[in-house]
C-alpha cells in the first residue's frame, strides 16, 4: 500500500487527478532518472515497460521509485516496487486509494 508522505519538507507536488497530467509528471521523473532524450521521453506512455527503455535497469528502477516518492509526496511499500515496472503500474499505485 502506498502511504502518504508525512514529511512537510518533501517537495510534494499538488494533487492533479487527470491521467494526462499524471503521465506527464511520471515522464519527467523518468527523463531525469533514466537520462532520456526529449524524443525518448515523448515516447513514454502508459504501456511503457523497461523492455522499451534500456536504461530502466533494476538499479535505475529503485532510483526512479525514490524520485517518484519525492515528486508525488508518497512512500511506496518496499515489497511492492518490483511489480511497479511499467508506467501503468506506477499510475495505478499513485492513484490507488490510500489507507
Amino acid at each position: 500500500m502506498t502511504e502518504p508522505l508525512l514529511d512537510p519538507n518533501q517537495r510534494a507536488a499538488p494533487a492533479d487527478p487527470t491521467p494526462a497530467a499524471l503521465l506527464r509528471r511520471i515522464r519527467e521523473c523518468m527523463q531525469a532518472v533514466l537520462e532520456l532524450s526529449d524524443a525518448e521521453a515523448a515516447g513514454v506512455d502508459s504501456k511503457t515497460t523497461p523492455l522499451a527503455v534500456p536504461r530502466w535497469t533494476s538499479l535505475a528502477h529503485v532510483q526512479l521509485i525514490l524520485e517518484l516518492e519525492r515528486t508525488f509526496g508518497v512512500i511506496f511499500d518496499a515489497d511492492e516496487i518490483a511489480e511497479l515496472a511499467s508506467v501503468r503500474a506506477i499510475m495505478d499505485a499513485l492513484t490507488r486509494p490510500r489507507a
Binding site: T49, Q63, A89
Partner: protein, 385 residues
Amino acid sequence: MVAVTPLVVPQVNVNDDTVLLIRWCVAQHGEVSAGDIVCEVETSKAAAEVRTDCAGVLVQSVSAPVRVRIGEEIGAIGPTREAAITYLETKTTATPDADRNVRATPKAAALAARHAISLEIVAGQGVRGTIKESDVQKFLDDHTTAVHPPGDQGRLPPRLSKYLEHAGALSEFDAAVAANLRQSTDHLILTSIDADCRLAAADGIIRQALAAGRMVSLLHLIIAAAGRVLPRFPRLMSFAYQGAVYRYRTVDIAFAARTPDGRLYAPVVRSADRTDLLGIAKVCQAEMLRVMRGTVKAEELEGACFTISQVAMPRTTRVAAVPSFGQSAALGVSAARPSIALVDGALVEQPLVTLTLGYDHTLCDGVYAAGFLDELIGDVERPAS
C-alpha cells in the same frame, strides 16, 4: 544417593590453556554409559575425544562449537536429568558467561560493533584476556588505513611521503568495510575460477517478466540459481575457523548493493533456496530501496552464507568478489557481452557473462569449485520449466 558428576574439560595438550569444543556426541539430556564418548575437542595440535567414566543423563551447559578452558565444567552427568540440572544451577563456582569465547568490555564491544569487527579475532590484553577498547582500537589501527589530519603524514614511510599529499580522511564507513574484507582475506586462502555463462534462456525469462511489468534482472536469476545449487555444494556455504568447519543452517545469499555516493552494502535474500524468482526479485528491490533510503539495519546485513557481486559496467569481463568475514565463497558477475555460439549447426549471436567464483582453498579445491560453476551455469542456461 547417586552423585552427580561434573563433566570437565580435560588437559589434552600441556601447552594449551583452552580447547575448542567441536561438537557434542551425545544429545542434550541423552543417556550415557561409562566409557562413552560424550564430545570432541580440538587442541592446537590435534582433535581428541572426551569420554565419561560414569553412567547417567547428560546435561550440557554449553553449546558447541565453543572455546572452553581446561578444567572448566561444560556439563554434568546425573542419575536423572533434573538432578544434573539442579547441580548445574546451584553450583557455587562461577560459571563463565555465555559469551565465553570473548571477554570484552562494553566500550570494546561497542567500538567493534561500529566497525563491524568480530571480537573473536581481537587479541585481548586485559585481565584474563579481556578485550579492552584500546585493544579494538589497536586492531583497527593495524588493519585499516591510517587516518591523518591534513598536513600530518608522520606515519607515511618517508620514501612515499615525498610523492604523496594528504587527500582527506578515510570515512568510518569505508574503514568498516575495509576491516571486514581485511579480516576475510587475512583468514582465507582465497582462490578463484572463471566460467562463461550464456544468457539466451535468461534473457527470455527476463524479457517475459519485464513485459509483464515485473522488475526481474540477471542478478535475481543468478541468486535464484545459486539458491538451488548451493545446497549440493555444502563446503561453499561453510566456514573454516580455528581448525573446525562450520556450516550455515540456511541458504541466505547476500548481494552487493552500491549507493549513488559509493557506499557498499550487502543486503541478504533469506532462504533463497525456498524462494521463487519473483520473490527474490521483490526482496532484492525492497532491500535496495531500504539501502538507498538509509533505513537498512546492521543485523539485516548479517548471516549470509554466500555473496554475489555484479558489476555490469560495459567492457567489464571479470569481477573478483571477496567473501565477507564468515563466508568462504563469493561470486562475481561481469557485464554481459556479445558472443557467437553454434546452435543447431548455425552460428548465432548470444550474450554471455563471466562468472568468477572466489573460494577458500582450505575447504574446497578447483575441481569442487568448477563443479559448482558448471551446475550453476547449467541452471541459468537451462532453467527448469
